[in-house]
Symmetry: C2
Amino acid sequence: MELLEQRILSEGQVRPGNVLKVDCFLNHQLDVDLLDKLGQEFYRLYKGDGINKILTIEASGIAIACMTARYFNVPVVFAKKAKSKNIDGEVFTSTVHSFTYGKDYDITLSKKFLGPQDKVLILDDFLAVGKAMHGLLDVCAQAGAQVGGIGIAIEKGFQQGGDTLRAQGYKVSSLAIVDEMTDDGRLRFRPQ
Amino acid sequence: MELLEQRILSEGQVRPGNVLKVDCFLNHQLDVDLLDKLGQEFYRLYKGDGINKILTIEASGIAIACMTARYFNVPVVFAKKAKSKNIDGEVFTSTVHSFTYGKDYDITLSKKFLGPQDKVLILDDFLAVGKAMHGLLDVCAQAGAQVGGIGIAIEKGFQQGGDTLRAQGYKVSSLAIVDEMTDDGRLRFRPQ
């Protein structure tokens, strides 16, 4: 998606260790107009796929999920990264390793919000190795929910998460795929 | 706001210990159409107040903030609850006590996203004792940002957070204020 690639080029910052900072518009400060356009694009890509729920994971994914759900007119449900006292015992759980935070964490999703009647579009801001996505897919499998598609804002194409999911048969759409990122700040996008 | 009160009455669940579960539509599963109407109402209440940024805290606040920001056409910035390796050293921090999670945590906000040029509308899903709000106000004070208003979906009016903020002179608008909540599940809303 040209608009997103241009934004990454103009405002993204490459940091050592394959870190791409896009906190100006995607995951700390949020450009809601841009997010709306991403949502519109996800709708274009998945509108024929019978999606009845959007699944994401806190925190940044929530923004993209909400802006996209407006177009689909379906509810969002988001997996939580910490167990709250307010959550019932009736939850699906999966363990995820975060490279960003350098530790394992559990994600939880209340069983009442996902089941065999659901065909979900899973959305997130980033896909790299795919650990968080693996957790969300595990939750869908536990729920018996069908995965209608996986939508990502920015995929790090030089890591294996996206291509592994495609090889497994998932319909993965990443609106920008960064295939190369050098420490001096150059980026190369995969032609789509 | 009648629509929100009706939704709380029909789908909210009162649990012992003054817990009001609204996870069906507000903070685990998200009814995006309802959130859009909350956003529209916040816009009606604050559109004349020169707001140029919406500030919230992860995770549930992000959904309300994004849906509201569409009407104001301003960016959202959200405080983070955990320090990520991806965040610069240049952050405002404040310590918050969470009754939900039973512990203290730090919130962080990158300094580049909030400053004296900003007049912010602070939004969150719940206001009870007001600990998280206190952290967000502390961050605004550190940044020299002006607080144009505080918008809350559901205020627990029997706890002191909201009324303390009003006494301090803040323009606090809660779309539903629960003044009484009994363990057998009855709710009484404050007339507004």
